[in-house]
């Protein structure tokens, strides 16, 4: 029993270390190297290959998430790595693979304003 448990834990750890299948393996390798040039490049595209998640953002979460204000479904925008609510014209950022669903953190799409500082009430 203990051996089996051990091998299962080992397997799950190994699974975590697997490079993402979507072909962003190079990006992941670059992330590990942490060179400043790569950092700038990574910032623009979806840089988040959290080890447990095959893509930058887990699409399963997309089925669950809605806009906290209107409770309407969101669209994932890969280029800016944001979740868009077209109706209200706002975009929620995804940082480190974690979507930030606080309304104050959202960006207005129309005016292309800077991200507001996430001030929590």
């Amino acid at each position: 029993m203990r051996g089996w448990y051990g091998s299962r834990t080992l397997a799950s750890v190994l699974l975590c270390r697997q490079p993402p299948p979507s072909g962003a393996g190079a990006a992941a390798a670059a992330a590990h190297r942490r060179s400043p040039g790569a950092a700038a490049r990574r910032h623009a595209s979806d840089r988040q290959t959290g080890q447990g998640q095959p893509q930058a953002f887990d699409p399963a979460l997309l089925e669950l998430l809605v806009c906290p204000l209107s409770k309407k479904p969101l669209r994932y925008e890969a280029s800016t790595n944001e979740l868009i609510n077209k109706e209200l014209g706002i975009a929620y950022p995804i940082i480190d693979g974690i979507p930030n669903m606080i309304p104050q953190a959202a960006r207005m799409i129309d005016r292309k304003a800077q991200d507001e500082e996430p001030k929590q009430t």
Binding site: S12, Q51, A60, L64, G97, I98, I102, K119, T121
Partner: protein
């Protein structure tokens, strides 16, 4: 005013003059559930506006995030682990449960949930193997494989917290401990959850609800996102019922915990806030009434460690 007395008291203790000043301060504050004006609320023993409370709480947890787990262990002498284990046992999730852990920050409840569901699954497999001795080798190996790719039965846990720093710590812990599948992290406000109605089987909030500015809104959101038949579970500090123990607990809270906070996390004020916020949180019966107001039925509570913490449970029926 209250804040400046508190500050004097803190400085007094800093200069190692034992207990005397602190006990005077505590005398002024004990049982201080003072009334506040409209639009105002408590931040520990201070009275602040509602917007301020949210910001202050955010800063508290931002500052303690990295040392949160160590502090929990030192302050509660490791007992918080038992409390959380008991919460999981009361929840008794089966494989396939969808859990929303609000204010779940560093992931303690989420990881326990995953372990519990996995061990339930192993138990089921073992039972199956015992009764069906003639399973083919392919079937057996398939059941092992399924386990590794995702959580048994399609269980899922979403950890939601208002504070990015706490979630970051939690995510790192998850990677370190090897939890990956069936686990998601979301920054969100308990008063305005970014989830649709009737999505989750269980909603938990452990040591988080006393930091929420509008507790009733958080309870209503909990009701909204739970499926019919879903369960609400809240693990939170509460009022001690035994008067002698209560004295000892007060002594420990006000004398020892902020000092530990300063030594271990370098943050006296946050832990002063912690012990004060516990005193302000409604007692067991009052909180039970608030949960019932949100629409939950069969609301019960269970005291742990003489009422230092209580688990409140309710169902959406």
């Amino acid at each position: 005013m209250a804040a400046s007395i508190g500050a004097v008291v803190c400085r007094a203790l800093h200069s190692r003059r034992h207990g005397k000043f602190l006990s005077i301060g505590r005398g002024l504050f004990s049982g201080a559930r003072c009334l506040v004006a409209e639009g105002e609320t408590h931040f520990g023993f201070q009275t602040v506006s509602e917007t301020e409370k949210g910001e202050k709480v955010y800063h508290v947890f931002e500052s303690v995030a990295k040392k949160y787990d160590i502090m929990n262990d030192s302050m509660s002498l490791g007992i918080h682990r038992l409390w959380k284990d008991i919460l999981l046992h009361q929840m008794n999730p089966y494989p396939g449960t969808q859990l929303l852990d609000v204010a779940g920050g560093t992931g303690d409840i989420a990881f326990r949930f995953i372990n519990y569901v996995r061990s339930q699954w192993e138990h089921q497999i073992r039972q199956k193997l015992k009764s069906h001795q003639n399973l083919s080798w392919q079937e057996i190996s398939k059941s092992y494989q399924e386990e590794e790719l995702k959580l048994p039965g399609g269980s899922q846990v979403v950890v939601c917290d208002i504070n990015k720093e706490m979630l970051k710590v939690g995510k790192q812990k998850a990677q370190h401990l090897g939890y990956s599948e069936g686990l998601s992290w979301v920054v969100g406000n308990a008063e305005e959850l970014p989830f649709n109605d009737s999505k989750f089987d269980v909603y938990t909030i452990a040591f988080g609800i006393r930091n929420v500015t509008h507790i009733d809104q958080a309870l209503q959101e909990a009701y909204r996102v739970l499926k019919p038949g879903g369960r609400f579970l809240c693990l939170e500090f509460s009022q001690v019922n035994n008067p002698l123990f209560s004295r000892l607990y007060d002594l420990y809270s006000f004398q020892v915990i902020p000092v530990l906070g300063e030594i271990i996390a370098g943050d006296w004020k946050s832990y002063q806030y912690l012990v004060e916020s516990i005193r302000h949180f409604p007692a067991q019966e009052e909180f039970k009434a608030m949960i019932e107001d949100a629409g939950f039925l069969k609301v019960e509570y269970r005291n742990l460690t003489s009422g230092i913490v209580a688990i409140h449970s309710g169902f959406k029926l």
